[in-house]
């Protein structure tokens, strides 16, 4: 059951082979047993989870007269899912991985949480993450690092590291994540999972604690593309509460999964296949491309000439927005407040000095600096120009191909502490994922083999704006002829 796909779980529930309460209990028990070592969850509340599961079972009884109709209306009903702790969840502690919100109980649900609840999914708990989603290794969490289930001496990636570790260790069949510069795709790659960052605006950001508003996007993480398609269908949709949410007709993201790949043109940016990538990663990615050629696809070299500028542009724009977004954490209305202070300024500085971790403070300082009088034009405006150039590069590339492929991460999961000394080394972990966020494009990562030390390697797919369904088809067809996505780390039974 723990390795079942969401469709298989739905069938088991429909056929009454298992109840939602039993399914939730199965995963809660695994969490209880395995989470102390992995640290993937920040908050688990068995009572709340089981109450939700019971409601799902009750609803199913009411709908039992017409099971098929019930299932088509609620294909995910009764299936457990865990939320990254960046999503406000009513009545649950919502910490964003920070001391600042360590005791914050949200009085409302994020749009994503609402949507998944409306689909009947049962919340298993809140997942660990880099503090305020700032990090690529999950080492910046106030609640401690998350361990990679494939090798507990290694990082799971970040910032959605708790989501990735939980699914990889089969503590949850699926999870929500958010991706500002690669935070869904990179941990999915490092933990051998499938994760998707939608086009900016497809999933409402309402209730998702903001890191960098113009880049943040929520998305699903699961074992397969097929599961991600189901989750995205439930998650996406226009929301009047988010002005950047796009008013588009609802989509069934599973609709094209079975379509063949004959004639598919895959663009390979030469900038993604240069020196930066480790040999083991390159070998796995090349093998995946061969598999795609066998499926009827052709590959073409394309160029994204400004991609070298994506990391510097990102590390201007994201901190700038973050420095402002995180101003609300001032100790006045909620969250952490320093216990002792002399006056207002002292209350602010002590609260923020004590409540935020080092990486968050670093980015607030960078962001404050680049927005300051006299520097704004040189940094922020320049970065915005680069952002437009990067988007234009992608537009040009997509004239020659249907999807773009490359590595998700330049290396497999690294050891704890390996990149902590030099923030720039850490920032370069996202070198292949960041440009997608800057351009607002959809991207995903799927497992394509194993590299050094038997650690998973991720293949990145970047689609045209709003072509999530096409991208999912490309991933799903690969997963029909390979089994990397079904592999599970050993020693966790």
């Amino acid at each position: 059951m723990i390795n079942a796909s969401l469709t298989q779980l739905a069938q088991a529930l429909t056929q009454k082979k298992i109840s939602a309460v039993e399914l939730a209990t199965l995963f809660l028990d695994r969490i209880e047993r395995l989470n102390p070592a992995l640290n993937a969850f920040i908050t688990v509340d068995r009572e709340k989870t089981l109450a939700q599961a019971q409601r799902s079972d009750d609803a199913r009884k009411v709908g039992a007269g017409d099971t098929a109709a019930f299932q088509s209306k609620a294909p995910l009903s009764g299936i457990p899912l865990a939320h990254k702790d960046i999503f406000c969840t009513q009545g649950w502690r919502t910490t964003c991985g920070s001391k600042m919100l360590a005791n914050f109980i949200s009085p409302y649900d994020a749009h994503v949480v609402e949507r998944m609840a409306a689909a009947g999914m049962v919340t298993l708990g809140k997942l660990n993450m880099d503090e305020f989603a700032m990090g690529s290794s999950n080492e910046t969490s106030f609640f401690g690092a998350v361990k990679n289930p494939w090798d507990q001496a290694r990082v799971p990636g970040g910032s959605s590291g708790g989501s990735a570790a939980a699914i990889a260790a089969r503590l949850a069949p699926a999870a929500t994540g958010t991706d500002t510069g690669g935070s869904i795709r990179q941990p999915a790659a490092l933990c051998g999972l499938t994760g998707l960052k939608p086009t900016y605006g497809v999933v409402s950001r309402y209730g998702m604690i903001a890191f960098a508003s113009s880049l943040d996007q929520a998305g699903p993480m699961a074992k397969s593309a097929e599961d991600c398609a189901l989750l995205l269908t439930a998650m996406a949709g226009f929301d009047t509460r988010d002005s950047t949410s796009l008013e588009r007709p609802a989509e069934d993201y599973s609709r094209d999964l079975q379509q063949p790949l004959t004639g598919l043109k895959i663009g390979l940016p030469k900038e993604f296949f240069g020196d930066g990538m480790d040999a083991d990663v390159r070998a796995a990615v090349e093998a995946a491309l061969d598999e795609y050629r066998k499926l009827g696809a052709t590959t073409v070299e394309v160029s994204l000439p400004n991609s070298a500028l994506s990391v510097p542009a990102y590390y201007v724009i994201a901190p700038a927005e973050a420095s402002s977004n995180l101003s609300r954490f001032d100790g006045v209305r909620y969250g952490y407040r320093a216990p002792e202070y002399t006056d207002l300024a002292d209350m602010y500085s002590k609260t923020r000095a004590q409540g935020f971790g080092a990486e968050v403070k670093r980015r607030i300082l960078i962001g404050t600096y680049v927005l300051s009088h006299g520097y704004y034009d040189a940094y922020y405006l320049q970065a915005q120009k680069i952002r437009r150039l990067i988007a234009a590069d992608f537009s040009a590339a997509f004239e020659q191909c249907d999807v773009i492929m490359g590595p998700t991460s330049p290396s497999v999961a690294f050891a704890f502490g390996a990149k902590n000394a030099d923030p720039v080394q850490m920032y370069l972990s996202d070198i292949y994922t960041i440009s997608t966020n800057l351009a607002g494009l959809p991207g995903m990562s799927l497992p394509c083999g194993f590299g050094n030390n038997s650690m998973p390697v991720g293949l990145q797919i970047i689609g045209r704006w709003f072509d999530e369904a096409g991208m999912l088809k490309v991933a799903h067809q690969y997963q029909q002829v390979t089994d990397w996505h079904t592999r599970m780390p050993g020693g966790l039974a």
Partner: protein
């Protein structure tokens, strides 16, 4: 004491609270006077994860204003974040407009005495208000009320076109009247719906460059504005004449002492780190939207003023006074319609004079005037056709104001107020009076004008005040030859 002549330069920044149903970026009510934080939603208190959604009603207000002042309405304007920390600023930034405001240019005609002047506007932009910090009743702590946080404001910035406190007040009053006229602001200064900051500097007459300015914050009455600017101007002149340079600063006016005092200098000025708010899309305003709003605008005071002067022959002063509010103009126009254009000046005098004075005395607003314009027109018609004297007219006015009688004619008939205009009858009375007052006649003939008035008084007394005063005057002079 030097002999330098100083010129005063004033520009105003006015925060007008827009008359919308809800806040500019949330659905909370903006009604005044609710218990603290009763009107503060998740968005208003800036919970983690919440997002702003622009209220289109506030944009309509901005478009109305842009049209009313003849400004440019930007087809695409940008909301920006103004970053600073303060306990009543929940997000740690205020959403405002910085580089591209929704309205730019345009202007406003003002009238100081009989002198007309056009004040240019720089810009008007949409922004949200902050909450309030409450420093009383919290045992040494500060309370925060976020009811006002997110209230929509239109900040209207003038060019430094004003040259005296009187001009500044005239501008502020004209603006105050206009925003109420077009229905975008309730104009309630006590509740903070209309607040002005005045940038004041002085320079020697003839000097081109502006002097260093100081900004007087939060002037919430016209009287305080006048006092504050007058004090500030004199202070600046004294400083300069005593050899001290003016430092750019923000100052507050203390109504109790009548003085302005610096609250922060330029060195403490914030770096607000403005940048476009990534949570909001650029504000796009199509010409169709503008046309739609235009069709809902009432005739504007400036248009009406021009019409009053050109068609009714009123003075600029009268026209300005009568267009001070939409209610005033409507009352005047209705009176005029009933009384006839020929009586325009009489109508103007009565509306600006007796009606305004009585409203003031009774503490009433124009909206609650107890005398219908048609009734006032009835009085005016009887003055014009000499049925009643001005004095009688006041008696009729008092009666109608108090709700007595159906109309002027009823009261005139009931009280026998018709003037005697039969010259034969008046002459007979004059003859009697002259015969009985030889002493006064002699004094008048000796050059005492006062004696003439005494004789008029006797004639009026003998006719019980009904004789037409003009006729009495004319006939008496003729008799006394």
């Amino acid at each position: 004491m030097s002999n330098t002549q100083w010129e005063v330069v004033i520009g105003l920044e006015t925060h007008t609270q827009l008359k919308t149903q809800s806040k500019i970026f949330s659905g909370s009510s903006i009604a005044f006077g609710a218990p603290p934080n009763a009107q503060a939603s998740a968005v208003d208190i800036a919970l983690p994860g919440v997002l702003p959604v622009l209220n289109r009603e506030a944009v309509v207000c901005a478009i109305k204003f842009g049209l009313a002042i003849g400004g440019q309405i930007a087809p695409r304007s940008i909301f920006a974040r103004k970053n600073y920390f303060y306990p009543d600023l929940p997000k740690g930034y205020q959403i405002s407009q910085f580089e591209i405001p929704v309205v730019s240019g345009g202007g406003l005609a003002i009238c100081v005495g009989q002198q007309e002047k056009y004040i240019k506007l720089t810009r008007a932009h949409l922004e949200e208000d902050a909450g309030k910090s409450l420093h009383e009743d919290f045992h040494g702590k500060t309370g925060i009320d976020l009811n006002r946080a997110g209230t929509p404001l239109l900040e209207i910035v003038s060019e430094p076109d004003m040259r005296s406190s009187a001009e500044a007040v005239a501008y502020a009053k004209a603006l105050h009247a206009l925003v109420q006229w077009i229905g975008i602001c309730d104009g309630n200064m006590q509740e903070g719906s209309f607040r002005c900051d005045a940038n004041v500097s002085v320079r020697p007459v003839g000097q081109k460059e502006f002097g260093t300015r100081r900004e007087i914050k939060n002037l919430n009455s016209f009287r305080f504005m006048q006092q504050a600017i007058d004090f500030e101007v004199q202070w600046q002149i004294n400083e300069i004449e005593e050899g001290r340079a003016i430092q750019q600063a923000t100052v507050l006016f203390n109504p109790d002492t009548g003085e302005t005092r610096a609250m922060r200098s330029k060195e403490d000025a914030h770096d607000y780190r403005y940048f476009p708010d990534p949570d909001l899309l650029p504000l796009e305003i199509t010409s169709a939207w503008i046309d739609d709003v235009k069709s809902s605008l009432p005739e504007l005071p400036q248009q009406l003023k021009t019409r009053f002067e050109a068609v009714y022959g009123l003075s600029a002063y009268d026209a300005t006074t009568l267009t001070a509010s939409r209610e005033m103009a409507a009352y005047f126009t209705a009176t005029l319609d009933a009384a006839g254009i020929a009586n325009a000046k009489l109508c103007a005098n009565w509306v600006m004079g007796e009606v305004a004075a009585r409203l003031n005395k009774d503490g009433l607003e124009m909206t609650a005037v107890p005398l219908a314009p048609t009734l006032l027109a009835g009085i005016i018609r009887r003055i014009a056709d000499n049925t009643i004297s001005n004095k009688m007219a006041h008696e009729v006015f008092d009666a109608l104001w108090a709700g007595e009688g159906a109309d002027a004619d009823t009261i005139i008939a009931a009280r026998g107020l018709q003037q005697v205009t039969d010259s034969g009858a008046i002459e007979a009375v004059i003859d009697e009076v002259l015969a009985a007052n030889e002493k006064s006649v002699a004094e008048f003939r000796a050059g005492k004008e006062k004696a003439f008035n005494a004789l008029v008084g006797q004639v009026m007394k003998a006719t019980k005040g009904k004789a037409s005063p003009q006729q009495v005057d004319t006939l008496l002079r003729k008799k006394l030859g």
